[in-house]
């Protein structure tokens, strides 16, 4: 076992545990998690694997392939979070607006 493997493998296992705790109830999340962390563990244990796959796909190094993949996932995750954030803003605005109008109409009702 190389040094980096000794560091990374427990981290992957730890991440898998935390992930499973967060998504305990969702089967799909579990399957995804198993696939993701399984792949992670595999890449740590068999380092040449990523390089072999990369070569097949026309990428120079395994690391590069992994990097491209992570960048794409990162961008996607960001977009998802951003649009969620915008949606939350809209809901807050609608809520505050409703309270403002309701209070005003309550205050101003004909007596």
């Amino acid at each position: 076992m190389t040094f980096i493997q000794i560091i990374l493998l427990p981290l992957v296992v730890l991440a898998a545990v935390l992930y499973s705790l967060a998504f305990r109830s969702k089967l799909l999340a579990r399957l995804m998690g198993a696939a993701l962390f399984g792949a992670g563990a595999l890449l740590v244990l068999v380092p040449d694997l990523s390089t072999k796959v990369a070569r097949r796909l026309g990428v120079g190094r395994g690391v590069d392939l992994l990097f491209y993949f992570c960048v794409l996932v990162g961008i996607f995750a960001f977009l998802l979070l951003y649009s969620r954030s915008r949606r939350t803003d809209r809901r807050i605005t609608a809520l505050i607006r409703a309270t403002a109008i309701r209070d005003a109409e309550l205050l101003n009702r004909p007596r």
């Binding site: 649009s83 915008r86 605005t93 309270t99 403002a100 109008i101 005003a104 101003n108």
Partner: protein, 243 residues
């Protein structure tokens, strides 16, 4: 504050024969100048709707005894949101014309009839005030601000296809139909551009009118900084891609 004690549309100006001109004044942390602005508006015999956008000290404390409609956002949402809240309220209260008006005293209330009359006459749906139609008014605008606003006209055109002489003037009047068809989503200052885009897509008839802007020390300090204009543009670009 008892808004319904006031007779609607005491007819001093001809346009008030159609009653229900509601002037929306969004206010965020304004000081006593708000009361002055409101008083000037009340003298125009319109319904005044003050929307307190989460001011630290509730604006109603400054407006004691004045017959205005008062709405308060519990948290600060932004000028666009405040205008939309006021507009919604005005429409629910039966407004025929909705006017947007700044709280800081920059806008001249005496120009309200100029904007509102053509709408009441059915000639247009949206009346926009412009600082740059009359060279006399343009000269009052501080030079740097003038260039930023002129740039704003170009940017606005790029995003909306509408070419005006003044795209960031908060003084405008909308017919009921126009107000109903334009729902502003932008909470912050980008709403000015959003309104133009909505105006265009709803095919509303619009016209610009010359309006005098009164710059005081107070309103200068309150006005948008030049730097903030960059923020607005970046905002517009991002929201174009991620609505």
């Amino acid at each position: 504050m008892e808004p319904f004690d006031r007779p609607l549309g005491a007819a001093i100006h001809p346009y008030m024969e159609i009653d229900g001109v509601f002037v929306i004044v969004p206010a965020y942390n304004e000081d006593a100048v708000l009361a002055v602005t409101v008083d000037e508006l009340l003298a125009q015999n319109v319904q005044v709707v003050v929307v307190d956008d989460g001011s630290a000290s509730p604006a109603r404390n400054l407006l004691a005894g004045r017959p205005v409609h008062y709405l308060r956002h519990l948290i600060n949402l932004g000028q666009g949101a405040a205008l939309q809240t006021g507009t919604d309220y005005a429409l629910r209260s039966g407004a025929e014309v909705v006017v947007h008006f700044d709280a800081d005293g920059q806008h001249d209330p005496a120009a309200i009839p100029t904007l509102v009359s053509p709408i009441c006459a059915g000639e247009i749906d949206v009346a926009l005030a412009s600082r740059f139609l009359d060279p006399k008014h343009a000269r009052d605008v501080p030079p740097l601000k003038r260039w930023v606003l002129k740039a704003g006209v170009v940017v606005s055109w790029m995003f909306t296809g509408v070419w005006l002489t003044d795209t960031h003037n908060g003084f405008r009047a909308l017919s009921r139909k126009a107000a109903q068809s334009m729902r502003m989503e932008e909470d912050g200052f980008a709403h000015a551009t959003e309104i133009l885009a909505l105006m265009r897509s709803a095919r509303l008839r619009y016209r610009e009118f010359p309006a005098h802007v009164r710059y005081t020390e107070y309103s200068r300090s309150k006005g948008q900084s030049v730097l903030n204009s960059f923020n607005i543009v970046i905002d517009l670009i991002i929201r174009k891609f991620f609505p």
